[in-house]
Symmetry: D2
Subunit: 341 residues, 4 copies
């Protein structure tokens, strides 16, 4: 069986394991206050062209989302988010656990529009009963989205303007950031993300690290005492250097992007193979996720040798399924899949 279930099936890129082995007996202070983390933070700032940003390394995505969002919002504020956003549907209410409502906006292919943000803000502040309603206090988007789609530079510019006009910070969940930036139809660079976002993160877990998310705080107002929040939310790794080592390995020479590009290309190959056979897609996208619509017998046949996820029923005889590539997907695995398609 070759599995295309998700992008966290394997361990880490070999370079990371090598570095862990090399540095294993080094003695460093804990909690991310070691020289390797410092070096890794400098690299993050450098690749983001964000010299003044604060950088913090956390362990996982849910933890990162809850920590960032609860550090930004006032008690009576909530976070605007696509209805399909990870924080709204797949974090067991971690945001609500921190006391805040997630304010869902109708999503199209996982994306929201600047005009929806403006409408939500206007609607709130024009309501004579506003005080009885959760105040939208920030905007959360995922890049790429949970469905693998991406915002264009134009769309993100508009979203940022809406946020600026209404004075709410923009938080970009970059759990799969590399896969998004390396999509063939992406006209955004990492530095653009750092410019548009008040705070965002560069996902490691799904992109070649054992684990880890690098939070980049660009907006000065959000920087103060962030490490207290990390600790309180259980996200401060004792052997923090493990995170520094990994992000240094991934970002020092572009490995992170190279791996993402490769995964995106593998996904495109799979996509083209399905297209060539005349199958349609639930969503067209160019990151590491492919959502073909397959007749049930094809789905059943492929599932004998390949692992992939059932996504949703389309009609009586067709389902949309998901194939996910990653930094670890080999050419051979994709060749085998294509030959079977």
């Amino acid at each position: 069986m070759i599995l295309f279930y998700s992008d966290y099936l394997e361990g880490a890129h070999p370079r990371i394991l090598e570095r862990l082995v090399e540095t294993n007996m080094m003695q460093t202070p804990g909690y991310g206050e070691d020289p390797v983390c410092e070096e890794a933070k400098d690299i993050v700032r450098s690749v983001c062209r964000a010299g003044n940003a604060d950088v913090h390394f956390l362990v996982g995505g849910t933890q990162t989302n809850a920590t960032v969002i609860s550090s930004v919002l006032k008690p009576y504020q909530g976070v605007l988010c696509a209805s399909s956003g990870h924080i709204n549907v797949h974090e067991t209410g971690a945001i609500e656990h921190s006391g805040h409502k997630v304010l869902p906006l109708a999503a199209e292919n996982g994306k929201i529009k600047a005009c929806q943000i403006r409408e939500a803000m206007e609607q709130h502040f024009q309501d004579p009963s506003a005080e009885h309603i959760v105040q939208p206090g920030m905007v959360y988007i995922s890049f790429p989205t949970e469905l693998g789609t991406i915002y264009s530079k134009e769309e993100l510019t508009e979203i940022k303007e809406a946020c600026s006009d209404w004075e709410v910070p923009l938080f970009i969940d970059g759990a799969r950031l590399g896969y998004g930036l390396e999509a063939s139809d992406c006209n955004l660079l990492l530095k653009d993300i750092a410019e548009f976002a008040d705070v965002f993160y560069i996902g490691g877990t799904k992109q070649g690290a054992l684990f880890g998310e690098a939070v980049v705080i660009c907006n000065d107002n959000l920087k103060k005492d962030f490490r207290y929040n990390i600790k309180q939310n259980g996200g401060m790794l004792a052997k923090g250097r493990l995170l520094g080592i990994q992000f240094k390995a991934l970002l020092e020479d572009g490995l992170y992007f190279k791996l993402a590009r490769k995964a995106d290309r593998q996904a495109e190959r799979i996509s083209e193979a399905f297209r060539a056979k005349g199958y349609g897609f639930l969503i067209e996208n160019h990151t590491n996720q492919v959502f073909p619509i397959l007749p049930e017998e094809v789905e059943k046949d492929l599932s004998r040798d390949f692992g992939f996820e059932f996504w949703q029923k389309i009609d009586e005889h067709h389902n949309a399924v998901r194939f996910c590539t990653s930094w670890a997907t080999s050419d051979e695995a994709v060749d085998q899949l294509i030959s079977r398609i």
Copy 2:
């Protein structure tokens, strides 16, 4: 410089790194639902002689404490704890962040007594204004304590009886569990811990793992839906098998205890060296922490070549300091330190 600051200065025991390398390209489902985790859980149950226990792997201690405690308490309940307990002093209010008060009891050398638990419970339930006061809903102790001291089997029996009589669960924080069980004056076995505790954890981070804590839920009433709590608290590692691999490596043949024993013996050697020179100790204990009281000039002199922690001022010319050994402390490092003492 040789550092004795803490027990999380280095990476992991080489066997763990080997296993990570070996299994790296294995494809497994995420979130701890893989065969390695299942195997590791069986090993945990087996070494604890707790065949019916539920086992869960989390990443770090603060996260584990907050997840366990908030899963047990009702909203109006708090947790009884030594005033020096980790949850009371060193977790940035993670317990309060989850809505619960920490109810400190005066600690002696980091320990509390059964009679203090009984008094607190009696005092609460006899108070005619009890409803206006946080209700003690569970008891938290650390084994060994934050000061390296340990409870005897007799003390723990009494604590357990007090908990049972008042129907409050006992939670044992075992961040350094091995160092405690291997202390030369310890008359408790792991199975005793599993028998006394309603829930406890076997700490990996400070005992040879890169990270990880194995929660063992012995009391059936506390088992339901615990994984929802883990996820909500941001403690469910995507590549969950990393935890399974580590605990399997540590526990399958007793490596965990062997490493702890070694560290405890190293600490004893250091302790004896100071004692031989006539220095006293803040606390006598036999785990991996040594707290000699040193004249300032000795402290200063040693600090040129060795890293250790200032602990507290004793008088004008003397400070108590802490030397911490770990699974990674070499004979040579200790030899050098002793020769300088």
Copy 3:
């Protein structure tokens, strides 16, 4: 100006003020542990035909909802609720502030259906990723709804069955309970509410009291230590007897229902007057709220002498508006309004 904005424009029914004056210098213990509260609780149990129920008096609706819901749910659970439910839209996130997600179901005229509850439960527990999703842990409905509509006995029976089958408690927000029970098309009695609900409340604030909501806990499992929850949520009135006095006055001889009936009839008169003039309605209902759709010039004209609420835009020239009657609405006020319609 005669105001029909809401049902909390005036003070309290004169009988309540008389009783407050009569009992003013009585000395009683605080926090609802006085003889008047005991008597009032007995009356509540009696009118509900719920001899074993626990009764508690709280001050306001938002407080009551947050206290009840957070006392019932486990940390990872949320509450199913009509999308238009008060807790979802008009309590500034009080439920989320207590750590829980509100799980909205598409509402029709403010109501939800048993099948929606069943679907939500099935969908959750059949999802292989259920642990990553907030678990529905209880059901909240309002009777009457925020739009003045009511559930029939048949509908409530089905909802109760759905809740029982899935073992989730049913909570009925009765902020306007009397207006609902006295609606001309209501086939439910107070005792039915007490039978169907695991916990519900009889609203005082909008039905003739100065303030106050009487929580009735029918399900034994939800009774324990509820007063701790009240206190923690700031809902335990020091001079608790004020609540006992009011509910005794309202319920001892049926005044509560008489006042509600009168208000419902006043609303019907208003409704008929609009209907006679050929105006349609946003929603047809028989409680104390009327939602006519008016041409803008009529709306403007009426608003010179009468206060009523803009509700929503219907088309370019028509708006739905709300007229609200209450226990305090006089025949004369309604006569004047009707003569102007």
Copy 4:
């Protein structure tokens, strides 16, 4: 039986009931946005000599404390407080329920000292592990304290300076503010309280109102969106004018202070009667609480005709007890008590 248990045994000063009766059928908008509340707020500002302050009326003390404190603190911050402070011991963890740790300071007769605040702040910010510890983010004191003692102008000046130097707001719980200000040894005026406090409240519940606390926010930084916090915490009374009516009645011509002065004098009479008989006191104070130390037989004898509270055991044959006067305590009641002493 004449009861001296507490200062919330009776209803309200007759003037308040008269006003409630007079205004009963008035129609006003809800939630404190009515003309009476506006007028009452102006009066509050005027008596406080705090023309720019924001004033809000809440229902009870626990609610007020939780709302104010959670509106001020960041998630990782706690509130410094006397160990005997109401928020630490008698609010069922309402502050922790909002996510924040109460940081107790050793209290002497219910009071804390400026130097304790300075020490706590220094200790926190000098700790190299500060990020692992709850950060003190504000200071809470009660005036008078829970034991009836008061701060002098000098003491309060020093406390304020400590707060200013460390940039933490000072919150004064004035549940019994009038009794404190009218104490014979008090050298503070209401305007001093308003000058020293960043936020404080004027307690109504224990001083002649049916219920109600008037929050005065003096510090501009704490004003924004406070009403959202009130609503979220369930403290926004639907018929908000009830609070305006009461505070107007109490404050428009000094009734509040007159009632407090009378109660303080009654307490002094009781105090002198005990002193004349040679009894000592647990605490000497001049507000409305008296804490004589009585031989058991005297205690028993008095308790046949008078209600008072057991406070604490002093020795085998003596207990300290509490007699509490209030705005409602009559001369006759005190005469009878004195004649029996």
